[in-house]
């Protein structure tokens, strides 16, 4: 492919693409900038995509600390409580020989959030530095990150069902703790961060003439 001639993009042709329904509108004369078909706000690129994505990523990193340090739930049995963090929950599963489940929870609760934050930071920095390296692979990386993030919610649902089911009063009951709220917030923030990012910025940088 010839790198010197910029490919014809919607932005280059003076067209706005609706991110919600895919309709193309002419930029000239569109008042209020709303899609005439589905009503979504129209922008050439998502507004302030880099700043908003950074803000959400940084908020997620900050909350990631209490999410892992604080207990997510406590099993109270015969008056004695055993607080569990996300990591100690995985270790318990390993100790009871349930290694497939331990692997599942480890991937969903620990690996995916860390990788997702790492990928988002990498994409943000690569776009900000005008990087032209393998835009197709970086776009694919973004798509996978966007799809995988929601699976981190699994631990929240495990706690929901444990706390809901084990309500045997003095004998045993399970309570959720503050770590779970922090972890839920991390998952929501990383999902919002992926939604705020605009993968077309990867290509804008790749299409730009070298400085």
């Amino acid at each position: 492919m010839n790198r010197s001639s910029a490919p014809l993009t919607a932005a280059g042709a003076g067209l706005l693409l609706c991110q919600d329904c895919g309709l193309l509108s002419r930029r000239s004369g569109v008042k209020g900038l709303h899609c005439p078909r589905c009503g979504a706000a129209l922008h050439l690129r998502k507004p302030n995509a880099l700043g908003r994505t950074w803000a959400l990523v940084i908020a997620a990193i900050i909350l990631y600390i209490p999410a892992n340090v604080l207990p997510v739930m406590t099993v109270i049995s015969l008056g004695r409580g055993e607080p569990d963090t996300i990591l100690s929950g995985v270790i318990q599963l390993l100790a009871s020989g349930l290694w497939p489940l331990a692997a599942l929870v480890f991937v969903a609760s620990i690996l995916v959030p860390v990788l997702k934050l790492g990928v988002m930071i990498f994409l943000l920095i690569s776009v900000q530095r005008g990087c032209r390296w393998r835009p197709r692979d970086r776009t694919r990386l973004f798509r996978i990150t966007e799809l995988a993030g929601r699976w981190s919610m699994i631990d929240i649902f495990v706690i929901t069902i444990l706390a809901g089911l084990v309500q045997l009063g003095e004998l045993a009951h399970i309570e959720a703790n503050a770590g779970a709220t922090a972890f839920g917030a991390v998952v929501v923030l990383t999902m919002l961060a992926a939604q705020a990012f605009d993968p077309r910025l990867i290509w804008d940088a790749a299409d730009a003439a070298p400085k």
Binding site: L17, D20, S28, G29, P36, R37, P135, V158, E175, A176
Partner: protein, 217 residues
């Protein structure tokens, strides 16, 4: 099949740009081409999926949506899981599961679980039924564009299948200390999740967008 497309600014037909599609991921313009049945169109630069041409999309998605709604209703009427321990028995329904955190004072978690495991899956199915039923009968429902936009927006936040996997992990975790018996709702819920996945596979949003009218705002 396409309704007349008009410019939002002038109200004049906009036919000249409608043969074009832009890639949502890399913004490259492509000429829209008819697809063979079950074919798919992808961006030639970044590989993003543009659209597919599934056969009998409307009626199959409608049938699946109505089935999923029926199963979802069942999943809410009966207990999801029963726990038996030392002569005591506890039953948990879906809504109780979602609201447990409220009793324990974690309203943020309660909201998150309620929205992602109950409300968003329900709104997504209701939105699909609202859009698909009239279209299948050859009519355009009022405010099709905005309703379908919201239905699509709920999709990533509708986490019924993740909730189910979480339930499975919880049941195995408790397996040592108590007997866990899946209730009627568990089977309905599993059925609904498979049908949800099938809808996700079958639904081609562009076929619905093509039928949505333009409003000059």
């Amino acid at each position: 099949m396409n309704p007349a497309v008009r410019s939002p600014a002038t109200g004049r037909p906009q036919d000249s740009i409608q043969p074009w599609v832009a890639c949502p991921d890399c913004d490259l313009l492509h000429r829209r081409a008819p697809l063979p049945s079950r074919g798919q169109a992808r961006c030639r630069r970044c590989g993003a999926l543009f659209y597919r041409n599934p056969s009998r999309m409307l009626e199959q998605c409608l049938a699946l949506t109505l089935t999923a709604l029926a199963l979802f209703t069942l999943a809410n009427l009966f207990p999801l899981l029963n726990l038996r321990l030392g002569g005591r028995e506890e039953a948990l329904t879906l809504i109780e599961g979602a609201l447990t955190f409220l009793d324990q004072g974690h309203w943020g978690l309660a909201g998150l679980v309620f929205f992602t495991s109950l409300l968003f899956p329900l709104l997504r199915l209701l939105g699909l039924a609202y859009v698909l039923l009239p279209l299948w009968r050859g009519r355009i429902p009022p405010r099709l564009g905005p309703v379908f936009r919201w239905t699509q927006a709920f999709s990533p936040w509708s986490m019924a299948e993740i909730f189910l996997l979480g339930g499975l992990v919880a049941a195995v975790k408790l397996g040592d200390m108590a007997a866990i018996i899946p209730g009627t709702a568990a089977y309905a819920f599993i059925g609904m999740i498979f049908i949800n996945a099938w809808i996700g596979f079958k639904l081609e949003p562009r076929m619905i967008w093509d039928r949505a009218p333009m409003h000059v705002a």
